[in-house]
Amino acid sequence: MFQIAKPLDEALAPVTDGSMLVVPREVAGAPMAATRALIRRGVKRLHLVALPTSSLQADLMIGAGCVATLETSAVSLGEFGPAPRFSAAITGQTISMKDATCPALHAGLQAAEKGVPFMPLRGLIGSDVLKYRDDWKVIDNPFGNSDPIVLLPAIKPDVALIHAPMADRFGNVWIGRQRELATMVHAAARTVATVEKIHDGNLLDDSVLAAGTLPGFYVESIAIAERGCWPLGLPDRYAADAEHLALYAKMAATAEGFAEYLDRYVYEKKAA
């Protein structure tokens, strides 16, 4: 079902042009080394789902022209300011934007995880988030009395791309408390994981480690990418590289600066 520790480019083969690709928020570990590899390969027309928000990862992929459609709740560089390539793509109308709200993305992926066509969610009614989502529906709650409620269709990505602290030789991936990674993976048809290192032994054999383990059953391919979230951080492992992120924010403010950033940090450097 998987082959442990492929070369990164090979592991990323399931992410083909036009794929619906789901990626996690920064605090769950953004797979940045894999993202740079995809940009180098020149992947195109992705429907990128960022659960439920994104920062550098989405901005970089959008700027590099990999994204046709973006579905998320927010893109921002946080303390480093707005996400410049995202903002430029929206105002320049070069990507199609499906604005959502965080719990709607969680619910849509949970619907796919459970094999149901939709999931209900409170809130949303009267917002323009709902108004511009033709794919969301409002019904009268059958258990209520003139009680409108939003139904969100299942989000079924072709590929989930994640980064985690470790995997074992059986393809099991330790995700810790970042449990949205499990939901993403269950919802997606295929999963590619990068990891910091390979764990000796079977993660499922240890009841304490097993509690934070995503079974290899769901995993298509794994590549090792040390400091694979750089310049973002990986919780409990390493912090974000603030200096580099400030540099990114500055360079990506213009199209030219962004192109130079790509040349310098994505195309030239083959690894993190």
Binding site: A28, T72, C102, S127, D128
Partner: protein
């Protein structure tokens, strides 16, 4: 006792929080975080052990072990009593805009996005709007994009919504779909508030000054809250309270 603007705002917000079970504070919100921790110190003094405070930006100050959905599930369960929201625009109906300026087909400015607002605004009983920049640019008659509406039709399930808006100039309360000027911060005037507010609001005949933080409040903030805060917002804690991360 003298105090700085951040201390005043935190004190105002702590009063709005009141006696509740659980306050959650989003990322990059040092003043609301200060207020929540202050409310917790007050609860400790009163021996009630409330509120529980979750600072979403800090793993040490959050208990989540069920992934990113737990915050929203928790709110859906009615287990979050107070949350903070802001907006690139906020209008007089309590609508907030975290998405864009200009027509939707061709926005002039794009903000990051709605985050969880289109859900949390409906299900958290006390949402406190916090926007330090008080101007006609931010406080508008009608937002260009409704990330989340201030009010809903009576048949729409809604257990929460805005109760107040705190700015660098004043405190508005919010009820029945309208803001009401409650008090003007020391050094600011009603005229100035009117001049810089783009939306209509109710204005009582007499509008008082926002009470200065009591010496007890300032002591709690500086002695009990600041060291805790320094672990999460080191720069803010240093600037406002002169406290370093390891100053305790």
């Amino acid at each position: 006792m003298t105090f700085c603007p951040e201390e005043l705002l935190a004190s105002v917000i702590a009063d709005l929080i009141g006696d509740v079970r659980h306050v959650a504070v989003g990322n990059a919100s040092p003043i609301p975080a200060t207020a929540a921790l202050l409310a917790r110190e007050r609860g400790k003094l009163q021996g009630i052990g409330r509120p529980y405070v979750s600072l979403l930006g800090s793993p040490k100050h959050t208990f989540w072990t069920d992934g990113g959905r737990e915050l929203f599930d928790c709110a859906g369960q009615g287990r979050i009593d107070v949350f903070f929201l802001s907006g690139g625009q906020i209008d007089g109906h309590g609508n907030i805009n975290l998405v864009e300026i200009g027509p939707h087909e061709r926005p002039k400015v794009r903000f990051p996005g709605s985050f969880g607002s289109a859900y949390l605004y409906y299900v958290v009983p006390k949402v406190i709007l916090f926007r330090t920049e008080h101007s006609r640019r931010t406080l508008v008659p009608q937002v260009d994009f409704i990330s989340a509406p201030g009010t809903s039709e009576p048949n729409v399930f809604r257990t929460g919504g805005p109760i107040a808006l705190v700015t660098n100039r004043c405190l508005f309360s919010f009820a029945n779909g309208r803001f009401r000027l409650e008090s003007v911060h020391p050094g600011h005037t009603v005229e100035e508030v009117t001049e810089h507010t783009g939306f209509e609001f109710d204005r009582p005949a007499s509008v008082g000054e926002t009470p200065a933080p009591s010496p007890e409040t300032l002591r709690l903030m500086r002695e009990a809250v600041a060291p805790e805060l320094a672990a999460v917002y080191p720069q803010f804690a240093r600037q406002v309270f002169g406290v370093g991360a390891f100053a305790e």
